[in-house]
């Protein structure tokens, strides 16, 4: 794998460990950590902080029967949880989000495709596929957007992003990412606000496409 240069900012790693990140962003962080030993080590270092804080917590009394209840449950049948593995460019957590079924692409025009993995009030996360050499539709952000490259590469005003690289865009960034010539650039993109594409789809149609 090529060298990853754009990593998860520290505050997002802490929020991920603590469970405060919205689901859409958590998926992107889990996917990046799956691809990046640097951030896996950083995450484990933050878990060590969490563990040290846990050790210092006060002791709260438990109900008298709680321990016995639990000991009696140790032999319960373990519920069957599907185990997902990396599939081509998709790391395990992304495969899990698709329930192992692969992306269901819908066309956005100009060869650009998307597959929405989840969308709710706290944000949305989707896969985007952009043909090599093609510009990603011009858009501005209404919030925080995380874009993780799974395959291929794109470049914009802020730099080049190859497989494993994570771009963190805030409200004020208006950028024009262009996919590098070569294989389709596949990204996992999460946002906490609806994206406002300016050129490709009239604003009125956006609720329809959920972009």
């Amino acid at each position: 794998m090529t060298q990853i240069v754009h990593h998860v900012p520290e505050r997002l790693l802490v929020a991920y460990a603590a469970g405060t990140l919205p689901q859409a962003f958590s998926l992107v962080v889990a996917a990046h950590v799956s691809m990046c030993d640097e951030c896996r080590a950083a995450l484990e270092a933050h878990q060590a902080v969490g563990g040290a804080l846990l050790e210092d917590e006060p002791l709260i009394n438990l109900s008298g029967d709680m321990k016995a209840d639990l000991m009696a449950r140790l032999d319960d049948a373990v519920p069957d949880e599907p185990v997902y593995r990396r599939d081509g460019p998709f790391p395990a957590p992304v495969v899990a989000a698709m329930k192992g079924r692969g992306p269901r692409w819908t066309k956005l025009g100009g060869g650009v495709k998307q597959s929405i993995l989840s969308a709710d009030a706290t944000g949305s996360v989707r896969l985007l596929s952009i043909p090599g050499g093609q510009a990603v539709p011009d858009h501005t952000h209404g919030g925080l957007e995380l874009t993780l490259v799974l395959q291929g590469a794109f470049a914009d005003e802020t730099g080049r992003f190859g497989a494993g690289d994570l771009e963190v865009a805030n409200d004020d960034l208006e950028h024009k990412p262009i996919a590098e010539p070569g294989p389709d650039c596949i990204c996992l993109a999460a946002t906490d606000a609806p994206l406002r594409f300016r050129a490709l789809v009239p604003r009125l149609l956006q609720p329809l496409f959920r972009i």
């Binding site: 929020a15 996917a31 270092a45």
Partner: protein, 175 residues
């Protein structure tokens, strides 16, 4: 070491000891997030049950039991409160050593002792902010604003831990 006895021998007495040590502390953490007493105990039970079931994934060369249980607790609490499964990173495809390298285990222990000392040296205000961040009380605005965490003196300890873990992971990949 209790956790290894649980992992390797499915030792119930050792598991009982782990429970006695961690369950009251876990309950304190869960109560912080506004769960009632009943729900808090339910979550703590789920956490400890997960510790029993996923014991095979515990690797003392990489983490202290408390770090490992911390992450399980955060995951379980979110699963219960949001009624959805948190996305988790891909497991590294390797088996933890049956006989952990004692010097590495000691390194992990020493490091976490120093980390606790550094945490103990924080001012009460710093300490409060750190606890809020790691126990899930950060607001969405805190997360979005790039103001950085006031990690202060524990920053260098995190960095040292990161160095060691980076090394460990590289070792795993090269094996």
């Amino acid at each position: 070491m209790w956790m290894l006895a649980v992992r390797d021998n499915r030792d119930r007495v050792a598991f009982g000891r782990l429970f006695d040590h961690f369950a009251p502390r876990l309950k304190a953490v869960v109560l912080r997030s506004g769960s009632g007493d009943g729900q808090a105990e339910e979550i703590v039970q789920e956490v400890m049950l997960t510790v029993w079931r996923k014991a095979a994934q515990f690797d003392p060369e990489r983490a202290q039991v408390s770090s490992w249980i911390y992450q399980i607790a955060r995951n379980r609490q979110i699963d219960v409160l949001r009624k959805e499964n948190r996305p988790v990173p891909e497991e590294l495809g390797y088996e933890a050593e049956a006989e952990p390298d004692a010097s590495r285990v000691v390194a992990v222990e020493q490091e976490s002792g120093k980390l606790r000392a550094a945490l103990g040296a924080l001012t009460p205000e710093q300490r409060m902010v750190i606890e809020k961040a790691y126990f899930g009380e950060m607001t969405h605005q805190d997360i979005r604003d790039d103001t950085g965490l006031p990690l202060g003196t524990i920053k260098s300890r995190i960095r040292l831990g990161l160095e060691r873990l980076r090394h460990e992971l590289k070792g795993l990949r090269d094996e």
